[in-house]
Amino acid sequence: MSALEERELQDYYEVEWDDINSELKAVLVEKKGKEESEIDRIHEEFARIIAENRGKPEALIEVLHQVQELIGFIPKAVQKEIAKGLGVSPGEVASVISFYAHFSEKPKGKYKIALCKGTACYVKGSAEIIKKIEEKYGIKSGESTDDGMFSLEVVRCLGACGLAPVMTVNGKAHGLLNPEKAINILEKYRKGEIKEG
């Protein structure tokens, strides 16, 4: 085997940290204003999570929870590393992430909106609210605004039907909404007039 060929084979097995780093930097540092050292911390933690679960396909969901918590989203390049570490295919990782709404491939906004489209909220007009938010911020369910401020999830029943129509923002419930009221609340978050609950 020639030296060149050997190098090619080596490259083939290299961990693609460069891809991950540039993606993390774009999101965490440039958009969310975190320190660059945050990326080093993520590296360290991620390496630990993988080391603890190496060769354990059954640990997939637990690992995804930890990584989602660690980074806030699970980019493709990270999914590939998880697959390699646990000994599953990238497809199996992607399949689980795409099935559970809790996991997300794309970064979520600073403020995570969960808007209910369960029966009670739907009857009380939540569809109109969703439409308004989609128009105002140019995002659909599962997406985030370009400035990283808001992400929208349309969910089924938050268990607060008495407040229908209802949404939560980073876990804090806001009820008895109409489209205008919902936008007002979100704008207050943007301006920092409501503190996270």
Partner: protein, 570 residues
């Protein structure tokens, strides 16, 4: 250890089965044929489609019979009003978002979904599901995927993961937005799919099929300026007849050749001829590598799905792959040099078509290393469609023979179509070349049959040749891992598809185990009936070396018949 026998009642028929048997299997034993859709014995037993529902009287509940174990004293009803209505409801729901374009669907003739709808008397679909979400994926030369026709039965996923260990396709998303495709919603061309087409063999609908090139071939045939020749792979002749309703295992060579002539091909040649040529080249390569202490074990390179698998998942073994092109590509290369020169046909007017049991061969033909020597590779299924399109009464055709020159072949070439065949063919030739003695017993039974991994030691002179054979990529992976762990062989045969080419992804449906067994028996029958059963005794092989290639492994042979490989990512 004797299994515990339990007793249950299927529609009041008493039946005894071993503990662990499913209700579905028990019902079969009691003479009840419960409809199934997602079920694929031994491969996909997941209870996804809910068609095989039955009622368990003891509990009053509906149960999915394909995954419910039979229990002692169980009373099963398979045809109550509730069962019928629920099954129909479930099928209607499956149909509610299925793209119904039956008249123009390639699977119209043998769609399991359509057959089931007929069997269950569905005349109206009461629901309209969300359609028009997904796009067709025709990004590879081999496979055509239309997720709008997918019913999410998971058969393809199970075959890809459990049998082939390729894991190229997965279900992604939820609800109406669930789609089976490569990770990250990629297209097949942007995935480590090896294009073996095993998914197309198990898909119950038209969601996964081969990419058709029938119209291109018709165009070439109708073009008066083109000289169109065709080659037929070893495994096609023992399977083609199934598409016309004959018993599996029927040897159909004569009718196939006659039909190809009537379709308008200018010459009907045989891939078996270049299978013999492959043995000459690969056998020489093996002997050379052993004598010169070069990279061993040598891996066969006939199966393009296998090659792509190695390139994606085990690139560290690239130098173990034989540099020999596959018989399909050797044929293309010889046709566009030797044949074209000999017959004064300008290469630009020569069109080479191949009939293959394989979807990956379409990809192979487009590899840049192959110079476009094979213009179109059709599957066995596509050939059957062409014959039907042309209105040829293939069952009543007189049997005809392949054209001479590139159409004469040995029994050794015939068995290329079954797992172990390339190995056996190579052993027949290597033995005689190495020892200079006549091989008395031609049948190497150790490498035949359906066992996933076959190993043998063959005494050739003072050499104890250690060989192994794997078919199905899960087994291929197993052998590669064994080699990594220190197992030593001289020569290993790999075939991507279970059973070898007889079980290829381009073969007629269904490709069940007993169908494959019959095809295999036919392959060995062809070998037995041949006067010449060793590749190096094929007179036309001798002729082509004398006239053109000089000797195996010569400079010209290398230029035309050998190739190289590339490492691909996963």
């Amino acid at each position: 250890m004797a299994e515990k026998i339990i007793k249950l009642w299927i529609d009041d028929v008493e039946v005894e089965v071993e503990e662990g048997t499913t209700v579905l299997e028990a019902a079969k034993k009691a003479g009840k044929d419960i409809p199934t859709l997602c079920y694929l014995k031994g491969i996909n037993e997941v209870g996804a489609c809910r068609i095989c529902l039955v009622e368990i009287e003891n509990t009053g509940k509906l149960a999915v019979s394909c995954i419910t174990p039979a229990a002692d004293g169980m009373k099963v009803k398979t045809n109550t009003e509730r069962v019928r209505k629920t099954r129909k409801l479930n099928l209607e729901l499956l149909l509610s978002n299925h793209k119904v374009d039956c008249p123009t669907c390639v699977r119209d003739e043998n769609c399991e979904l359509r057959e089931l709808a007929e069997k269950m008397g569905i005349r109206d679909i009461r629901f309209e599901g969300q359609k028009g979400i997904f796009v067709v994926d025709d990004t590879t030369p081999s496979i055509y995927r239309d997720p709008e026709k997918c019913i999410l039965c998971r058969r393809c996923v199970s075959v890809c993961h459990e049998v082939q260990s390729v894991k190229a396709i997965v279900p992604e998303g939820r609800g109406f937005h669930t789609v089976v495709e490569p990770a990250f919603y990629n297209s097949l061309s942007d995935s480590p799919c090896v294009l073996c087409g095993q998914c197309s063999l198990v898909c119950p609908t038209g969601a996964i099929t081969e990419k058709e090139y029938i119209e291109d071939v018709w165009e070439a045939i109708y073009d008066p300026d083109k000289h169109v020749i065709v080659q037929t792979a070893p495994a096609v002749r023992v399977a083609l007849s199934e598409a016309f309703g004959l018993e599996p295992g029927t040897i159909f060579t004569g009718q196939m050749v006659a039909a190809l002539r009537r379709l308008g091909f200018d010459r009907v040649f045989d891939t078996n001829f270049t299978a013999d040529l492959t043995i000459m080249e690969e056998g020489t390569e093996l002997i050379h590598r052993i004598k010169n202490n070069e990279t061993l074990p040598l891996f066969t390179s006939c199966s393009p799905g296998w090659i792509k698998f190695l390139e994606h998942y085990y690139p560290e073994f690239i130098y173990n792959l034989s540099t020999c092109k596959s018989p399909q590509q050797m044929f293309g290369a010889i046709a566009k040099s030797y044949y074209a020169e000999k017959n004064n046909i300008p290469v630009e007017n020569l069109v080479v078509v191949s009939i293959m049991p394989c979807t990956a061969k379409k990809f192979e033909a487009t590899r840049s290393e192959m110079n476009g020597d094979v213009d179109y590779a059709l599957t066995t299924r596509e050939l059957a469609r062409m014959i039907k399109q042309a209105g040829i009464d293939v069952l009543n055709l007189p049997e005809e023979e392949h054209d001479k020159l590139l159409g004469v072949s040995s029994g050794a070439a015939a068995i290329f179509g079954a797992t172990g065949g390339v190995m056996e063919a190579a052993l027949r030739t290597a033995y005689e070349i190495l020892t200079g003695e006549e091989l008395k017993e031609l049948d190497f039974k150790q490498v035949r049959g359906f066992k996933g991994i076959k190993e043998a030691e063959v005494r050739i002179g003072d050499l104890n040749l250690k060989v192994a054979v794997a078919h199905g990529l899960g087994n291929a992976r197993e052998i590669l891992e064994r080699i990594k762990a220190g197992a030593e062989y001289h020569f290993v045969e790999f075939m991507a598809c279970p059973g070898g080419c007889i079980g290829g992804g381009g073969q007629p449906l269904p490709a069940t185990e007993d169908v494959l067994e019959k095809r295999m028996a036919a392959i060995y029958e062809i070998d037995k009936g041949k006067k010449i059963r060793k590749s190096h005794e094929n007179p036309y092989i001798k002729k082509i070396y004398e006239e053109y290639l000089e000797e195996p492994g010569s400079h010209r042979a290398h230029e035309l018949l050998h190739t190289h490989y590339v490492a691909r990512g996963v």
